[in-house]
Amino acid sequence: MTFYQKRITDLLLLQSLAPSTGFTTRIFNGPGAQMSVRGVEVAAAVSPVRKPDANWIVRAGFSLNRSNVDSLPVPAFNTGGFGTSLGAFRIEQGQSATQIVGSEGHVGDANPDFTASLSSDLNYRRLSLGFSWEWKHGGDLINLTQLLYDAFGNSVDQAPAGNTRISTWAGGCGGTGCTKIYVQDGSYLKLREVTVGYDLPPDIPQHFGMRTARISFSGRNLLRFTPYKGLDPEVSNFGNQAIARGIDVAPFPPNRSFFFSIDVGF
């Protein structure tokens, strides 16, 4: 179990400048700029069965992380996204470093409330069975895929839900436009992996001149439970960035894959 609190002072800032200076951004060592990150990480493993011919280990993990821009000696600035009407990330004093702002102001945060995982490995004689679950709670995505579907009448629920969403985006929130409608909860629970393996009895591989052989069958991303309306809550068009993560513009989603493998040892 780990608790941590990290305070970063004199931050190296990538600041957006007034474009009239002729420059767009500068990297500088901001005196007085401070950001703090706090979090908890818990990991536990139990082994309910430990016998010569059977072994079972269950591991669980939990983590949460919070960031805060404590002080910023320069004006707040945007640092990712396609402009505030389509959701942008903004570094602002007193706010989380991963906050998302829209036309109407603060609309979300890409950082999850917490993440948790549970995995199990069971070995019984020659058989092995393993699985792992991952759970992310909270953490917003900017669902521009849905915006594009809605805008051109291609959503599954176009009439009336899609039409309502796009007109809320364009003119809602008192006329400023409502980006919040497309900044959506990216919580998920996924069955990340299941593996079944079997070690062949030694005489079979030895017959072929090998020492050991194992066959296994595994699958990834087998089950997913999410309220997110896009293709998948894990997408990010701009990769796994520190801040501008979770922008969803018709990306290629994570795939479900199956593996059949034979491992031999000489």
């Binding site: 400048l17 007034a18 009239s20 002729g22 402009g83 505030t84 009407s85 942008a88 364009a170």
Partner: protein, 479 residues
């Protein structure tokens, strides 16, 4: 032995510490930027680089202003903002490609210009060459300030931007003062070009054929001046009769001599009724390695940048025939009708047929129309000459019959006729329609395609914008 070792260790520590203090590392991936005592090659690279900065925003402006001024649409299934934000609003000030545009690339060009001007005095070239470079740089800077002003009329903009990034930001000055500053920059450029010897120490490239010596570049400088003066005049000196009945117009302080200044500037420009109408200065594009293609070129059959249906509807017929205006035929062709978000058009732009097609900065045809305008309103001009200039364009460029406007027509009738010719002559070349309708107080005449919006696409009713908002990065930094 021990002493020697100690000495070596101390020397090593000193060397490491000394090295660690210096964080100035040369960027091996780009040529050294221009600085004091610049060589001729560095001046050459910096001067040509300015044209690359200038053209960066050209295609964006042509397309965006065409949408704002209802010259056309972009029916893009991958981006709804061309059919929502630019037609119905609100304009998003945080995005350089949309509502927040015509700001960052322009000020970058201006900054690049000052990077040259600030050190040109110590460059290793002759004094006339230094003056020639100064005049050239200032003219390009004036064009960039103008791009900002076209999009931000009635807003205040920063002018005095030659300062370090740690200094306070340049104060905002009124739009009227902005135009006056541009006039001053162009005049200063003129003084420098006149003292600029017989040739530039660099080649401004194929976009400036015929304008690539200080003396000829000055003619380009004066052509830009003619346009600036006409814009100043139309917002300051326009008779009330011209705008009567077209809604309220924000007026500038009167500039009674501005129309006459247009005529003076034209006499010193490359204006010529004997030269090709296409003669002028261009932003050059190409598909060459590391070069920038013209993003407005498209396959007409599958084009999504389309002309507004009104472009075909209001085109007149050529003399004695059934064919439409030659200018229309040269810039627009038909495709199968394409509809999106309650908008529809079957007219593809063919103004820029290939990725190598240049985009005009200013050309002879515009100058002739500027002379028509200044002759009608200016004290030193004559209305007969104005009509003669209009007819010259109608006949030589459009293949049309002479205009029905006479010297006895009202100002308002003349302006309508002028705007018709300017519409077709300068169509899809740099936001002229939007700027013209605004400066003559006729924005209310622009077609509103979706007066009740497009419920199927969730779009509220369309509106005509008179200006773009100040870029939000600028606004945020000034808070």
């Amino acid at each position: 032995m021990r002493t020697q070792n100690t000495t070596a260790v101390v020397a090593l520590i000193v060397a490491l510490a000394g090295g660690a203090c210096n964080f100035d590392i040369t960027n091996p991936n780009s040529p050294a930027s221009i600085g004091p005592n610049a060589t001729a090659a560095q001046v050459d690279a910096a001067a040509v680089g300015l044209l690359i900065a200038l053209r960066a925003d050209a295609a964006n402006w042509v397309l965006k202003a065409a949408i704002l001024g209802r010259e056309g649409y972009r029916l893009d299934t991958a981006d709804p903002r061309f059919t929502t934000e630019l037609l119905a609003g609100p304009l998003d000030a945080s995005n350089n490609a949309f509502g927040g545009g015509q700001w960052q690339p322009e000020f970058r060009t201006i900054r690049a210009g000052y990077a040259i001007l600030n050190v040109i005095g110590s460059a290793q070239i002759s004094d006339p060459e230094k003056n020639a470079v100064r005049g050239y740089v200032q003219t390009i800077q004036a064009l960039s300030f103008l791009n900002v002003l076209y999009a931000h009329t009635q807003d205040s903009i920063p002018i005095d931007v030659n300062r370090g990034i740690d200094q306070p930001l340049a104060p905002l000055v009124s739009n009227d003062s902005g135009y006056k500053a541009v006039v001053a920059i162009l005049d200063s450029a003129r003084t420098n070009l006149l003292a600029g010897g017989s040739s530039f120490p660099f080649d401004p490239g194929p976009g400036f054929v015929g304008l690539n010596t200080p003396a000829n570049f000055l003619k380009f400088n004066r052509a830009v001046m003619a346009r600036v003066r006409a814009y100043q005049a139309s917002l300051g000196a326009l008779p009330a009769s011209v705008t009567a009945g077209y809604g309220s117009v924000v007026r500038w302080p009167a500039c009674t001599a501005c129309w006459d200044s247009v005529l003076t500037a034209l006499q010193q420009s490359f204006f010529s009724t004997g030269a090709a109408l296409d003669f002028g200065a261009y932003n050059q594009f190409s598909t060459g390695n590391q070069d920038l293609p013209n993003g407005l070129s498209q396959d007409p059959a599958s084009a999504i940048n389309l002309a507004h249906p009104s472009v075909a509807d209001s085109a007149q017929l050529q003399t004695g025939g059934a064919a439409r205006d030659k200018r229309f035929l040269a810039k627009v062709t038909t495709r199968s009708a394409f509809s999106l978000a309650c908008l529809s058009s079957d007219l593809s732009w063919i103004r820029y047929p290939t990725p190598n097609s240049p985009i005009p900065i200013i050309r002879n045809e515009e100058l002739i129309l500027l002379r028509a305008e200044a002759n009608w309103f200016g004290a030193t001009g004559t209305k007969a000459q104005a009509i003669s200039d209009l007819n010259f364009i109608r006949q030589s460029s459009g293949g049309l019959d002479p205009t029905t406007v006479t010297t006895g027509s009202t100002d308002s009738v003349f302006v309508n006729a002028l705007l018709h010719e300017r519409f077709y002559s300068l169509l899809y070349e740099g936001g002229h329609r939007w700027i013209d309708m605004r400066r003559f107080g006729r924005l209310s005449q622009l077609v509103i395609d979706r007066p009740t919006g497009c419920p199927a696409a969730g779009i509220p009713k369309d509106t005509v914008f008179s200006r773009m908002p100040i870029n939000s990065f600028e606004a945020q930094a000034r808070k």
